[in-house]
């Protein structure tokens, strides 16, 4: 006895398999660009690089319009990881708001804490003690090394090389264990406070840091040799996804992706904060703007960060690590904007205070959000396999993109 399906059967979701292939976009187009995108011509196919995918860096959905293997157009759909951080921060007080910002770009959480902390200190007209500032710079640069190491592993994994990821994780694991010895957490550190940091550097951290520094540079260079001259890697990344200087500036890109296109804009040099004016470091810049340049720049930045950590260790003054702040934080009404250089670009916090103990508005400007727009400009004309390479080289973290 065969089972017959009736169209009136309420438990049946589709009445025929053909209904499954109807449009991915069930809603009428809301803007002219959307209408233009979803009008599919003969020979073109809409395919979903869905939110669940091994290679989109988090939950990113990209609707690709492809013709065979070639991409004609794409429409990224965001919001799968939207947690409403800005609204949550409006209903929390200033200390709690900082805890909400950690999981934004979870790979580089210290940077996510730093900008709001700096913005709130500006609202309070407060300056953190010198030692606290040095500690902030030191831990942030460590986090930058860890983040860039992970980037290298991810880029290789998206291209098919399984091994560099594990080597990158060896590096990252050491740093993260170090920071765990200091802050108590391996990933969402929750270390910075308004007015300083939460506790001076302890012995465990310093000994691990000393160990690591003695072999960091050699280890980094050994890891780089895995991929830098690999013929297949070069063929897949050189000349791919070129973003030229004007386009990059118009897109509002920041960070290593911008510097790979020839614009030497680094917030640490352009608008120095904390103790960066006292540290000597280079800002690596490349002209080509392709995936390989974006990859090499981050490797150069790792070396610069190690150099900076070295200088911090030598120059660190003694003193308190936390300024005297009132128990209840009520800044006077006003606005403050603080921008820092996170591993992905310029991360900024715009905070408005209305005199109460909760921020009136806290806007977080995320670099991955803006950098991801480059995808729409650069991908058409390339193959599906290049989507992964280019996306990995732009290094988005969906937690930050979706806030």
């Amino acid at each position: 006895m065969t089972q017959t399906y009736s169209k009136d059967d309420p438990t049946l979701l589709v009445d025929s398999p053909a209904a499954l292939i109807d449009s991915i976009q069930p809603f009428p187009p809301r803007s002219e660009r959307e209408a233009e995108f979803y009008a599919v011509r003969d020979g073109e196919m809409l395919i979903n690089l869905g939110p669940q995918h091994p290679s989109t860096h988090g939950v990113l959905r990209v609707v690709l319009k492809i013709e065979g293997e070639k991409i004609i157009d794409l429409d990224p759909v965001l919001g799968y990881l939207h947690r409403g951080v800005e609204k949550l921060c409006e209903n929390a007080d200033y200390h709690q708001a900082i805890c909400y910002t950690d999981p934004l770009e979870y790979i580089s959480s210290l940077f996510m804490e730093l900008a709001p902390v700096m913005a709130f200190e500006k609202l309070l007209d407060l300056e953190a003690p010198r030692r606290a500032q040095y500690i902030r710079v030191l831990t942030c640069e460590l986090n930058r090394v860890a983040s860039h190491a992970l980037f290298m592993g991810w880029l290789a994994l998206d291209l098919g090389g399984l091994t560099p990821l594990l080597y990158a994780f060896v590096e990252r694991d050491e740093i993260v264990e170090m920071l765990a010895a200091q802050t108590g957490q391996r990933m969402l550190f929750n270390y910075f406070r308004i007015g300083g940091v939460n506790g001076d550097l302890n012995h465990d951290f310093m000994s691990r840091l000393g160990d690591w520094m003695s072999r960091a540079l050699k280890q980094v260079e050994a890891n780089q040799r895995l991929l830098n001259e690999n013929e297949i890697f070069l063929k897949r990344t050189k000349g791919l996804g070129v973003v030229d200087r004007d386009t990059a500036l118009r897109l509002g890109m920041t960070g290593p992706s911008l510097r790979a296109s020839g614009v030497p804009y680094d917030v640490r040099r352009a608008h120095p904060y904390l103790v960066y004016p006292e540290l000597a470091f280079d800002v690596p810049t490349r002209e080509e703007g392709d995936t390989y340049a974006r990859y090499l720049i981050r490797l150069d930045e790792i070396k610069q960060s190690i150099h900076m950590i070295d200088q911090c260790l030598h120059k660190m003054p003694d003193g308190p690590v936390m300024a005297k702040i009132p128990r209840l934080i009520r800044p006077r009404p006003g606005r403050a904007f603080a921008a820092i250089e996170s591993p992905r670009g310029q991360y900024a916090c715009y905070a408005i205070s209305d005199g109460t103990d909760q921020p009136f508005r806290m806007h977080l400007h995320d670099p991955s959000f803006v950098n991801l727009q480059a995808m729409g400009v650069v991908l058409p004309g390339n193959l599906i396999a290049d989507t992964m390479a280019i996306m990995a080289s732009l290094d988005p973290i969906m937690g930050g993109v979706d806030k």
Binding site: F27, R30, S31, E32, R33, E34, L78, G79, H82, G84, E86, K87, N91, A92, K122, T247, L249, R250, L251, G252, M253, T254, Y265, A270, H271, P333, G334, R335, A336, F337, A339, Q346, A348, Y350, I352, S353, D354, G355, T356, F360, R361, H363, H365, F369, V370, L372, Q373, V377, D402, K403
Partner: protein, 185 residues
């Protein structure tokens, strides 16, 4: 605030500014009306005297009385070391409209989409103004100050606003006593 920059802005845009140029720490702030946005932005971007080519941030603010769109711009250190904050003030809370700056910075497209999604501010000239975070069929704008979520325990048609400081009973939470009145301007 950078005094030199303030003088230059005053000189150039004197009739368009809603308020004198102010600032605090390393930020300089100007206020303009929505209709002035395209010209002011183009001047700030193209004019070699200013040269604010980097759009650092674009966001919306709901003060409770009006809505604002806030831009942060950066230029070469030779001109000024400050951030320039351009506040577009006076957007009506019930029908906020503002011209788009996507003609200058393509990267403003998604940031304007986010502002539209969170506040309902319609950017005229943005080719792709649709929701970016919320689902396409979402009907409210979350970051507005009068945004409220339906309360499961609510009785009757009026649903209560929830703040972190809870009212004594859910029924005591009404719109009039829970929408935050801004003490900023």
């Amino acid at each position: 605030m950078d005094a030199r920059l303030a003088r230059r802005l005053d000189a150039r845009f004197s009739d368009r500014l809603l308020r004198p140029v102010t600032g605090r720490h390393d930020e300089t702030e100007v206020r303009i009306a929505p209709s002035e946005v395209p010209e002011v932005m183009r001047t700030l971007h193209d004019d070699p005297e200013f040269g604010f080519t980097v759009l650092a941030d674009l966001c919306g603010v709901d003060t409770g009385e009006v809505m604002q769109v806030v831009y942060h711009l950066w230029t070469e250190p030779a001109v000024t070391r400050d951030w320039l904050r351009v506040i577009v003030d006076g957007l009506d809370r019930d029908d906020p409209r503002c011209p788009s700056v996507t003609f200058l910075w393509k990267g403003a497209e998604w940031q304007e989409r986010e502002t539209y999604d969170m506040f309902g501010i319609v950017f005229e000239g943005n080719r792709d103004l649709r929701r970016i975070y919320m689902p396409p069929d979402y009907t409210s704008f979350p970051l507005r100050k009068d945004f409220y979520l339906a309360d499961d325990a609510a009785r009757g048609a009026g649903e209560g606003v929830r703040h972190m400081e809870q009212m004594a009973t859910p029924a005591a939470a009404t719109r009039s006593n829970t929408v935050r009145r801004a003490k900023i301007s």
